[in-house]
Symmetry: C2
Subunit: 341 residues, 2 copies
């Protein structure tokens, strides 16, 4: 059912994104070329190529929400394109901020064209994401609804920068609490998923209050999704995730399970010393995993993840009533809960 | 008359900007603190201070346009705040892109808090500028008008990134034509002034077509303004501008008069060689100025500037009819034409 929906709508989402990011003036061809490169549509010489498309989870959730409240997903395509373009804008700037040199097995935009042009290309994608939302009005969406979608979108953009600010500031701090971490992913991950669902609901004509419940559904499954990601980064099956066992421990990534254990009165100090070793390597993994066990961090993260999924499903019932369990959004949440990569 | 208008409205513009950029959550205080620092409201320790306010030309033009088409400038305050915040966002990112370490005699945001946090603080100001425009709806501006203002604003943001792209790409090129330069300042300088005036007109209830004429007025005086700036950078009176004589020549700044002379069949090659000298200094100024004279570059720039002002005033007459010459916008354009700094 999910695959059918995705197969039906992905080409239209892609076409809408290409229309928004077109930029046909020769004088600024390189400006748009950088954006098209980041999207995976051209190579570094701006010749057409196509990378395997991503999952496009956010735009699909947007269209599903529109359909589930009785709207026509085609009308929500500009909003779907907007959330995917916005996500890609944030990746262009994140890559600069984190100094990441590769993405999807290719050099990042800043690595190829330098930081100044990459900042500016990201800014253009940011502005064009707003242009995408505004195209709702061209598909017959009333001005008041388009404006409501824009306000939801804008609030999310602000939240995204707050999350990114916290994420970067954590790197320079020795101690970060679990609550601080949850506040961070609320902005950095959950806000965008929440806005994707809420905007789809708005366009589909959700009753007042329902769009807010849809936003809470998206935010909650966004939080659950991130915590699950954190767990897969430590306990995921390397054969399935494609990453080394205990990958995030060796990278000292301050993800939820690790922060929980570091804040544990019993195991925290020892784990902190272990992670501080300059020669931290695969041989230290059994000891690190044992400390996470002693702190009960896996159980804690699992429980929190399940509670967020449950919160999300309850919000979906508030939005859709009896139809919730038969909805694509419900199925998607269930599918996300079971994922192993 | 202009001073009276400015004195009446500047405090309200400032208050609106402070409301938009408030950010009251303790966890992200430093994120908003960086923005407040850039705005000149706090020092680097986030303690209140107040730098002398800038001219605020763009937000004032926005409010004037609203008044001149019969609207209440108070209703346009969110749009006025938006264009000033957007202008400041672009300065935060420009400072990173250009590697500028000081602004208004203080260290720039990236210099104090690093490039990653500065990119992200700029992104937040970008998003909050859109939030500012959306506040029009809270002052009783109809949704359709607010949406029209948002589309004007978004198009301008895209144009701004195109202008910035061209400006940066010129630095790595040996030859740039005058037409390419004009295309660049169209995006980098004129688009924002055009949008400021057009948005004020829209909020004030400008007839269909009039808002477009107001935009052309703003764009034309924006182009004239930039060319005038370029001329002051070469021939301005150091006692008035506060900059050294021939400042932009010594900085090898590819401004309009210099590009005109470099593209001149007679003087171009010699000027090019002079500017390429590693020891270029004040002693070379007389020779450089003579070459600009030989190419007729000052007369060319003066003529172009005057033609853009005339184009702008004609557009203003198209927008306001007989009232144009009595309008604050006309007076402002005349005042800008006579400026010496």
């Amino acid at each position: 059912m999910l695959n059918t929906f995705a197969a039906e709508w992905l080409p239209s989402i892609e076409a809408e994104m290409r229309a928004v990011l077109a930029g046909e003036e020769a004088a600024v061809a390189a400006h748009y070329g950088m954006m098209h490169y980041h999207m995976g549509w051209v190579n570094a010489r701006f010749e057409p190529e196509s990378l395997p498309a991503g999952k496009h989870l956010r735009p699909l959730l947007c269209l599903m929400a529109c359909a589930e409240v009785g709207g026509d997903p085609a009308q929500a395509l500009p909003a779907a394109a907007a959330v995917e373009i916005l996500h890609n804008f944030s990746l262009v700037h994140d890559d600069i901020e984190d100094g990441d040199e590769t993405r999807r097995h290719r050099p990042t935009v800043w690595k190829l064209w330098g930081v100044p042009q990459a900042i500016n290309a990201g800014d253009a994608m940011f502005a064009l994401a707003f242009a995408a939302v505004e195209r709702l009005a061209d598909r017959g969406v009333p001005a008041a609804t388009t404006l409501a979608a824009l306000r939801t979108f804008t609030e999310m953009c602000v939240a995204l920068t707050e999350g990114q600010h916290l994420d970067m500031s954590f790197e320079t701090r020795s101690a970060v609490t679990v609550d601080e971490y949850l506040r961070m992913i609320q902005g950095k991950t959950a806000a965008l998923i929440g806005a994707s669902v809420a905007m789809g609901g708005l366009v589909g004509g959700a009753e007042p209050g329902s769009d807010e419940a849809l936003r809470r559904f998206g935010q909650a499954i966004g939080l659950a999704f991130q915590i699950q990601d954190d767990m897969l980064g430590i306990w995921g099956d390397p054969a399935v995730t494609g990453k080394a066992a205990g990958n995030d421990i060796l990278r000292r990534k301050k993800s939820l399970p690790l922060l929980h254990a570091l804040n544990d009165a019993g195991a925290g100090a020892e784990l902190g010393m272990l992670l501080a070793r300059p020669d931290l390597g695969a041989a230290d993994l059994p000891a690190a995993l044992a400390l996470l066990d002693a702190a009960g961090s896996r159980a804690y993260a699992t429980d929190l993840m399940e509670r967020y999924y449950a919160t999300g499903l309850a919000a979906l019932e508030a939005a859709l009533g009896d139809r919730a369990e038969q909805s694509l959004l419900w199925t998607t949440a269930q599918w996300l809960m079971r994922r192993e990569t």
